[in-house]
Amino acid sequence: MIECKTARERIDDLVDGALDVGSAAALTAHLTGCADCARERDALLDLRRATRALPRAIAPDRDLWPAIARRTAPRRRIAVPVAVAASVAAAFIGVAATKLTERALRDPAPAPVATASMSAPQGRALFVAQVMRPDAAVSPQTRAVVEHNLRLIQQALGELEQAVERDPGDANLRQLLISIHIQESALIEKMQRLTVDANRRTDI
């Protein structure tokens, strides 16, 4: 049988869900028969409820962004870590990009260039439009490799998004999805640069 002194020491853990099942049951049994200790628990629960009602976000009085923007300019280019999609990246860049560069696009018309300010879907759409259009001077082999890798990325993203929707509490899935998006964006930007370089060499 738990004494009141011990019970008081463990009520915080009970409220926090930090007790094992046996200890929680023993303490709960004590609380059922001890009005004083039960009041302690009730007071803790009331405090916790009031704490959770507090707003976690508080707006500053002034806009802090201008000072931050001054300190972060000039904008630096920071390497993005290659993590989850490293194998896809290698295939995408190593095969498709090499063949694009070797054959050099023969179309003299200046192609639109994806910029860093584009979202991944925008960049992807533009990339597909300029490289994969029917009249682009891309070899069938290159076209096949690029299309295959684009499908792989899209398939991975689609499956991950479905998995996250089915199990939204899985932090690993969410982080994997973020990571793939980051990698996709990096790939699109690299491919854009390679394509533009190939066009420039052709122009010269």
Binding site: A57, L64, A69, A116, S117, P168, L177
Partner: protein
């Protein structure tokens, strides 16, 4: 309008045993897939030096960062300073962000580290940190808390806690950190973190009764 004391009895009640059970099964709030994808896109752009993308991330997270810094320091000017520094540090280290945690979680750790480091520095210099608090938190919360007086009284009580107990209470009960995370952040033993939380709650209840 005169302020009334915080009275827990005014809160709607449910059976206590049910409340504990509900807490254990509460899922963590999860952002929708679209929000995750949008943040991932912003992160990718920001990591390439896109200031506008980083500005959007700032707008989404500044309230949480400032709220955390304000509660830890109880000083509006210091909170602004730490908030700015947090975003600058985040910008400078975006290349090291591995998406192993949510961006917000990573950012709030930076902010907590800065705010707690600032408190330690001030304590070493013998500056008054806790006593004679300004009205920063109280005024900021007044517009958001409901019921208003309850939130204000609780914020006042949190402000008045000793620094160590307040830091543990804010990180655990307000921000949702675990004791092992707090212990690592503050350089404490886990048992000390639990003891500080117990002390903070006891002081708060005494003040609010």
């Amino acid at each position: 309008m005169p302020q009334t004391a915080f009275k827990p009895s005014r809160l709607p009640r449910r059976p206590k045993h049910m409340e504990i059970a509900v807490r254990r099964s509460e899922p963590a709030p999860v952002p929708p897939v679209a929000a995750i994808s949008n943040e991932a896109t912003l992160l990718a752009r920001a990591a390439r030096g896109d200031g506008e993308a980083f500005a959007q991330l700032y707008r989404e997270h500044v309230g949480r960062v400032f709220g955390l810094c304000l509660r830890l320091t109880a000083d509006r000017a210091l909170a602004e300073e730490h908030t700015q520094e947090s975003f600058v540090r985040a910008w400078e280290n975006l290349g090291k962000f591995r998406a192993e945690a949510a961006f917000g979680t990573w950012l709030y750790r930076i902010a907590a580290n800065l705010a707690l480091g600032g408190l330690r520095d001030r304590n070493r210099r013998g500056l008054k940190v806790v006593q004679g608090m300004d009205q920063a938190v109280v005024e900021a919360v007044a517009e958001h808390a409901s019921p208003v007086h309850e939130g204000i009284d609780l914020e006042r009580a949190i402000e008045a806690l000793p620094p160590g107990a307040r830091a543990v209470f804010v990180l655990h009960d307000v921000e949702g950190w675990q004791h092992d995370e707090i212990a690592e952040q503050l350089g404490l033993a886990v048992g000390t973190s639990k003891a500080q939380l117990h002390r903070a709650r006891r002081l708060l209840r005494r003040r609010l009764e």
